[in-house]
């Protein structure tokens, strides 16, 4: 709202206007201006970010050849600055309800622009910083525009908008809450430090996640529906490698302390992330870790060939750099008592480090140990000696695989793995199973341990076929075929049968499975100053889930310590995920871009713990990132935020709902253009040099995208252009027998402009009838003929494309004996017709108050002979092409008719009100 036309109303009460004008094309602007001039208060609702409709996008207008911009912009500026008119752009009317007394109640939703309009100066810095490219609807999709953009140079208001179609599926899927699309976009721009910084906004574990995350983002990647997903995880590893590998890193700044202290028990992904987030907000944070080194499962559970220790050190270095203190080898048992040690709040994030037992005979024999112990010993540098030994690993999960592959690296003579689940059902990821097999591990899937045998040390295991792992209720309840048995010789057995939380000593409430009881949303325990996060609450999960939990805990602890309500709805924004199908539909075609091959180097008998996966080169990173489809449009990379000089970008902006009471309604919703690909025989969308009339208008406009008329396939200046009239009009095959009225004239106009811009070009128009009806129109048509445009009466039946991208038209040459003739052109313009704008009737709902449409779905006029523009609903009028195809002067006249009647409606209401007031007084 800019001008204050609305009447003052009580807080929350609906706004009051004399008239609601829906749409701000030429018909809507004319309606609003005339009503405003008469003194009525007007509310204009425009769905786009700028007023102006289609007219402002045109090159020149027939028959005067006035520049469309030059004659539109004064109307646009006048509309927005008129003292009696309020304009809401980027807004839609949700519904209009009849109040029963000739007035209406309108509900309007203004989409968030994510820009503080009052502060935005229209400087376009955000647009230039944004690296997302989506088809530019204001240039008829011929070029791309940014996610942060100003619709077009003459936009009114000239304010930026950030186009967010939703959260991109990769970002939405990330349990950690990392802006995956954002850092991919930053990599695409070569902004690796900024990409690193964006991940740091969520978690300090950039390098660890870049290696050991299972990357659910990639499973959701829309590119996966095409050739294969982006290497999103490896891009994160790339930015971490690049950052940590840089000489002379600028140390992270230590935030100012706020004087409050938080203890974090456990230094795994949840604890480290929470500590990082809290420390960044000024809390004094101390982490207590019972193990000799920090990192939790990252350090103790994940083998170095997947996650080297120095990467964990680098990541933890981020946390300590901003002042977090970590005390290792310090086990805390009495949690609530930490308060007495001066901590204002405590976070328990101790994970699940207790192994589950198999409970089979012989489990107590020597040589049998848990995978957790085994892996931790390897990682901490004192591995169990398995060299030359026969190793049996029990379990089908990630931990079992890690243990088996580690044993292989330690020189085991053989490694057998027994898994209750069949291969496809194993909880380990498929690629891990494949890699394990590649490294020579023998997998016995679908088998369970019956018992171990041996003297003092284990010698072999008897196994039996497992017929079913889970009961009907989904709980773990294996069943076996006792008759199918086998024996595996083994010297060492490593059991990975599950992990439990070790919480007995904490003095906090627990679940039967020993996980801590904390509120699902706030993570607060029954002891108010104690919060719990990560696997100790959820049971064993993935790193990214623990990170997400840690971040949530930090958010809640901050609220708690500030004495605020723990409102979970404020944690992360509520924008929904974008629909992948919408993304794929956004463009007719996407270039094929091959996915990056895996760089893992596998050996059949690995001997060391070197990383199996190689680093990404910069070229690979760029090519990988450049495949992104920018699903959510805005990538949330925050490049715009960095550059905005007015600091006016706000990603938390929500849509606004506005209620208004209006005395009358003028529908000026315009028309839509016929989708040219609905005439497949003309090849639009397949043949690059077949374009629509609107596209040609853009090529000719003063703000034209290429500053020249060129054909799209190769940028050649066309010298032989064909026009196909009546595309989608007067055509029963597309269910539109109507004539669209404007196409003849806009084509004739373009003919003249082309002949002016390209004096050597031939222009041929294939037409049925040239309908130049209107003042000066036929003379204008004759002028085009006189300038040399060639008019051929004939309907084109089809087009084929030559190797050079030229187009061969087949048509019936009506004036020459109706022979079937072919002609070759280097560019074809389809003079597409008009269609009704959909969705207008829906504004009014069904039943008594329904808006009547005509047989062709235009807004119906109940008495076009005497009251043009009047609809079936009293007080509701239609202006311009919403009632049927109209050119600009006809739209202006029609708007004038609608306004005269809307004003008469308002005057009648005024008289009635005055009469009523008189009676009452």
């Amino acid at each position: 709202m800019n001008s204050g036309a609305m009447e003052r109303s009580a807080e929350g009460a609906p706004l009051k206007y004399d008239a609601l004008v829906v749409g701000s094309g030429i018909g809507g602007m004319e309606s609003a201006l005339k009503l405003g001039d008469m003194g009525y208060k007007v509310l204009v609702i425009e769905k786009d970010a700028s007023v102006g409709g289609k007219m402002i996008l045109l090159s020149k207008v027939f028959p005067t050849l006035d520049c469309a911009s030059c004659i539109s912009t004064p109307k646009m500026a006048a509309t927005i600055h008129h003292p009696n008119i309020d304009v809401l752009t980027y807004a839609q009317v949700d519904g209009i309800r009849d109040n029963g007394d000739g007035t209406y109640h309108a509900k309007v939703t203004q989409k968030p622009k994510f820009i503080d309009e009052a502060a935005c100066t229209g400087c376009r810095q955000c647009e230039m910083a944004c690296n997302v490219a989506v088809p530019d609807e204001f240039n008829a999709d011929m070029v791309s525009r940014r996610a942060a953009y100003i619709a077009f140079p003459q936009a009114v208001p000239k304010k930026a908008v950030i186009d967010r179609a939703g959260i991109s599926p990769c970002t939405y899927e990330c349990p950690a809450g990392i802006k995956a699309h954002g850092y991919v976009a930053r990599v695409r721009s070569g902004e690796y430090e900024e990409a690193f910084g964006l991940v740091l906004e969520t978690t300090p574990l950039v390098g660890s996640l870049g290696r050991a995350c299972y990357a659910p983002c990639e499973e959701q990647c829309t590119r996966g529906e095409l050739e294969g997903p982006l290497p999103i995880r490896r891009l994160k590893r790339f930015i971490a490698d690049t950052h940590y590998g840089r000489d002379g890193l600028t140390p992270l700044e230590k935030p100012e302390q706020n004087g409050k202290k938080v203890a974090v028990v456990g230094s795994g992904p949840a604890g480290l992330t929470a500590a990082w987030q809290l420390a960044r907000q000024g809390y004094g944070v101390k982490i207590f870790e019972s193990a000799p080194q920090a990192g939790g499962m990252l350090r103790l559970g994940i083998p170095a060939y997947r996650l080297p220790n120095d990467v964990i050190d680098d990541d933890i270095g981020n946390v300590t750099a901003i002042g977090v203190e970590i005390e290792t080898g310090k086990r805390v048992d009495d949690i609530p008592a930490l308060k007495d040690a001066g901590f204002d709040a405590v976070l328990v994030a101790t994970g699940t480090h207790k192994a589950v037992q198999l409970r089979v005979p012989g489990e107590e024999l020597g040589g049998i140990q848990s995978a957790l112990t085994f892996l931790a010993d390897v990682k901490l540098g004192n591995p169990v000696d398995v060299e030359g030994k026969k190793v049996l690993v029990v379990g089908g999960g990630n931990v079992a695989i890690d243990a088996a592959r580690s044993a292989r690296r330690l020189g085991a003579a053989s490694v057998d793995q027994v898994s209750l689940e069949c291969c496809e059902e194993m909880p380990a990821h498929d690629f891990e199973v494949d890699e394990a097999r590649a490294e020579g591990i023998t997998l016995h899937d679908g088998w369970g341990i019956d018992h171990f045998e041996g003297d003092s040390a284990v010698q072999h295991a008897e196994i039996k076929v497992c017929t079913c792992v889970f009961g009907d209720d989904g709980r773990f309840a294996p069943e076996y075929d006792e008759t199918m048995r086998d024996t595996i010789d083994c010297d060492v057995v490593i059991v990975a049968a599950g992990m439990l939380a070790d919480t007995e000593a904490f003095g906090l409430e627990t679940n039967p499975n020993r996980t801590l009881i904390a509120d699902d949303e706030t993570l607060q325990t029954a002891v108010p100053h104690v919060f719990a996060a990560g696997d100790v609450v959820t049971g064993p999960t993935m790193i990214n889930s623990a990170v997400g939990h840690g971040r949530r805990a930090a958010f809640m602890i901050d609220k708690y310590l500030q004495g605020q309500e723990l409102d979970a709805s404020l944690f992360d924004e509520a924008l929904g995920v974008v629909d992948k199908n919408d993304v794929l539909r956004r463009q007719d075609v996407y270039d094929r871009r091959e996915p990056l091959e895996s760089s893992a180097i596998m050996s059949a008998s690995p001997t060391d713990f070197a990383e199996t996966e190689g680093p990404m080169t910069e070229d690979e990173a760029f090519l990988g990132a450049a495949r992104c489809l920018d699903c959510g449009v805005c990538s949330e990379c925050h490049a715009c935020v960095d550059v905005c000089p007015a600091d006016c970008i706000d990603f938390s902006m929500q849509e606004k709902v506005i209620e208004a009471e209006v005395g009358s309604v003028v529908l000026a919703t315009g028309f839509s253009l016929f989708p040219a690909d609905a005439k497949p025989q003309y090849g639009f969308g397949r043949y690059k040099n077949v374009i629509t009339g609107m596209q040609m208008d853009r090529l000719l406009a003063p703000t034209r995208p290429y500053n020249a008329v060129i054909r799209p396939s190769d940028g050649k200046v066309p010298d032989n252009i064909a026009y196909i009239m009546c595309t989608g009009s007067r055509d029963d095959t597309v269910d539109n027998p109507l004539c669209s009225k404007i196409c003849c004239m806009y084509s004739v106009k373009q003919n003249q402009l082309i002949m002016g811009a390209l004096p050597l070009a031939d222009v041929t128009v294939y037409y049925i009838d040239v309908r130049s009806v209107g003042k000066g129109y036929d003379e204008f048509y004759q002028q085009a003929r006189d300038m040399g445009a060639n008019f051929v009466k004939g309907r084109v039946s089809g087009i084929t494309e030559t190797d050079e991208g030229n187009l061969v038209l087949r048509y019936e040459d009506i004036e020459n004996g109706s022979a079937l003739v072919e002609s070759e052109h280097d560019m074809v313009v389809l003079a597409v017709g008009v269609q009704p704008s959909r969705g207008v009737a829906e504004l009014f709902g069904d039943g008594d108050g329904a808006l009547a449409l005509d047989d062709y779905y235009y807004v119906g006029e109940v008495d076009e002979d005497l009251d043009p523009g009047r609809t079936n609903l009293p007080g509701v009028f239609v202006a311009g092409a919403a009632a049927g195809a109209k050119d600009i002067p006809d739209s202006i006249l029609h708007a004038g008719a609608a306004v005269a009647q809307a004003a008469a409606h308002l005057e009648r209401a005024k008289v009635a009100d005055e009469a009523k007031a008189k009676v009452t007084s």
């Binding site: 005339k34 001039d37 008469m38 003194g39 207008v61 028959p63 005067t64 006035d66 520049c67 911009s69 030059c70 004659i71 912009t73 004064p74 500026a77 006048a78 229209g122 140079p153 003459q154 936009a155 000239k158 003063p702 027998p737 109507l738 009225k741 040239v770 309908r771 130049s772 009806v773 209107g774 003042k775 000066g776 036929d778 003379e779 004759q782 009466k793 009506i814 004036e815 020459n816 004996g817 109706s818 076009e864 002979d865 005497l866 043009p868 049927g884 600009i888 002067p889 006809d890 202006i892 006249l893 029609h894 004038g896 008719a897 306004v899 005269a900 009647q901 004003a903 008469a904 005057e907």
Partner: protein, 578 residues
């Protein structure tokens, strides 16, 4: 130096100016001129963003006068006056310099020359601006009354619309009856409603509305006054001529059209059985059941389209325009004829079938009902001759069958005649109506201001502006209603203060200025015992016609004083382009 603080903005207008004028160089050239505080170029000066920038500059730099060099003042004077106002300047200390129509577009072959000319034009504008004085608009109260001239369907609907807005309306009709041409029509396209019924509906409402006074047999004889307050004289012809004076705020002209009257022999016009479309339509409307012509049943009809329309421009007095309504009207009349009893064969000889928009459905329907369409070459019109048997024969080439020569024997030949402008020299002279090259009245802008004329308060609607269908005429009548409402509903109007001003000391009242004034905007008054000229500010249009004829240089034009003109000439002559 006058101490003015002038902001100068030179527009690229996309490429309209920038492609042919080196705008940055123009800015560079005038940047150091006296009193120029800000000088910038802009991609679109009229865009909201640049407007904001001007406002911001004005506020930050304390600008008090503005120059924009862009397009024609006709387009954007008001835009930038408004900007000046928003920026806290006096809107009349704004000068629009035209470097597009009068520079870039006319010198597309000479960028250097165009750039130098642009600099000179801008400098002239700066010089004029330097000598501007703040002016205030002339505020006049407007009369909430409208005069509608013409009682056809457009005039009737406009009168009703105006009354519904709360205005007092006077409707003047030359004829004895209201209703105009539409009153004589039976079923009309596209809704098959009778013209007579439509008009009767409107007339009933008009007669019943107490705010509307109808004068039939009446004419507008004279108009005086100024914007928003006109005194009109109406002559009512009755037993004796009566004239009355009325005060009105706006005048809506809805005087309609004439049917084209073919010349004798034109497509056989004058032969028995050759009729015009209006004549034929009347026959169909009034047919007793069977279509008859002079007592004989009509079995075969041949229509010849574009009679009196789309004529070759080489003909003297040619009507080169398309009459818009006739294709659809003929098609519709053919459908109506088909509905009558008896077999009828109908041949349509057309050039382009212009059943635009949803009227296409009528054309489809007529073909389904048996009408045959033949496309005649633009340059080989059909010929009509009388056969010795008494019937008619039309010969034509049909392009749809490969240019085959076809002879059609017909009982009746219908010349599908178009609309021509109505002869109305008296009204044109009384209202100073602008008449276009085609003879119809001209609007200010055919695209955006189709019902306004260059004469303040005089609006045009219906077919007097251009050929229209009945419902289009009604829509334009309502648009004129709206425009009147926009002018009069507020109760006052602000007029441009760039009007003539008299120096009473120098004036000797010779009357020469009054002779030169086309607007009767000067009168003789006595001031301090001296006879001097006085400007009627609300009538003066600021044309400046009086200024050069004054022998004592006692009269000047505010906003374009002699001193300003001289300064502008100096600016044009100055050669200091770097």
């Amino acid at each position: 130096m006058t101490g003015r603080k002038i902001g100068v903005y030179v527009c690229q207008c996309g490429g309209n100016i920038g492609d042919y004028v080196d705008v940055d160089k123009v800015v560079e050239d005038i940047k150091g001129d006296d009193d120029v505080i800000v000088a910038r170029s802009a991609m679109f000066t009229c865009s909201d963003a640049t407007q904001q920038e001007i406002v911001q500059d004005a506020q930050e730099q304390g600008l008090d006068a503005l120059v924009v060099a862009s397009c024609s003042p006709k387009l954007h004077t008001m835009t930038f006056r408004d900007v000046a106002k928003r920026a806290g300047m006096n809107p009349f200390q704004y000068t629009q310099v035209n470097v597009r129509e009068q520079c870039s577009w006319t010198h597309t072959d000479d960028k250097t020359g165009a750039t130098e000319k642009a600099t000179r034009l801008v400098r002239a504008g700066i010089n004029r601006t330097r000598l501007t004085e703040p002016l205030e608009p002339i505020v006049v109260e407007t009369t909430p009354k409208s005069l509608v001239v013409g009682g056809g369907i457009a005039g009737l609907r406009a009168a009703l619309g105006l009354a519904e807005l709360g205005l007092t309306v006077f409707l003047v009709e030359k004829d004895a009856k209201l209703g105009g041409r539409v009153a004589g029509y039976g079923a009309m396209f596209p809704n098959d409603r009778k013209g007579s019924d439509l008009v009767a509906t409107l007339e009933e409402k008009v007669r019943a509305n107490p705010a509307i006074t109808v004068f039939t047999n009446a004419e507008l004889m004279a108009k005086g006054g100024s914007f928003g307050n006109n005194q009109v004289t109406i002559a009512i012809h009755g037993d004796q001529l009566e004239t009355i004076q009325l005060d009105v705020g706006s005048i809506v002209v809805a005087t309609g059209f004439d049917d084209y009257e073919p010349a004798a022999g034109e497509f056989g016009y004058g032969l028995d059985g050759v009729v015009t479309l209006p004549e034929f339509k009347k026959m169909v409307d009034e047919a007793p059941g069977l279509l008859q012509y002079q007592g004989r049943p009509v079995k075969t009809v041949a229509y010849i389209y574009c009679v009196g329309s789309r004529q070759d421009e080489s003909l003297e007095g040619a009507h080169t325009y398309c009459s818009r309504y006739c294709c659809t009207s003929a098609v519709h009349t053919a459908i109506e004829a088909q509905k009558l009893a008896g077999d009828i064969r109908q041949y349509h000889l057309y050039r382009d079938m212009r059943t635009y928009g949803k009227y296409e459905l009528l054309w489809n329907a007529s073909r389904e009902k048996g009408s045959l369409y033949l496309r005649v070459p633009d340059d080989e019109p059909p010929a009509v001759e009388k056969l010795s048997s008494g019937g008619l024969k039309v010969t034509t080439k049909d392009l749809l069958t490969g240019g085959e020569e076809i002879a059609i024997p017909a009982d009746l030949v219908v010349l599908v005649t178009g609309m021509v402008p109505r002869e109305n020299a008296d009204l044109v002279s009384v209202l100073k109506l602008p008449v276009g090259i085609d003879g119809f009245y001209n609007e200010i802008h055919p695209k955006l201001r189709p019902v306004e004329t260059i004469v303040d308060g005089v609006l045009i609607c219906g077919a007097c502006q251009a050929p229209k269908t009945s419902s289009e005429a009604v829509a334009s009548g309502l648009a004129a209603t709206t425009q009147s409402g926009a002018m009069l509903k507020r109760g006052f109007a602000e007029l441009d203060p760039m009007v003539a001003i008299v120096d009473n000391d120098a004036c000797t009242w010779c009357g020469k200025c009054l002779e030169a004034c086309p607007y009767d905007a000067l009168e003789q008054v006595e001031v301090d015992g001296k006879q001097v000229a006085q400007v009627i500010r609300t009538a003066c249009k600021g044309c400046g016609g009086c200024v050069p004829v004054c022998p004592t240089d006692a009269i000047d034009l505010q906003g374009y004083t002699d001193a300003q003109i001289r300064a502008m000439i100096d600016g044009l002559m100055e050669v200091s382009c770097s």
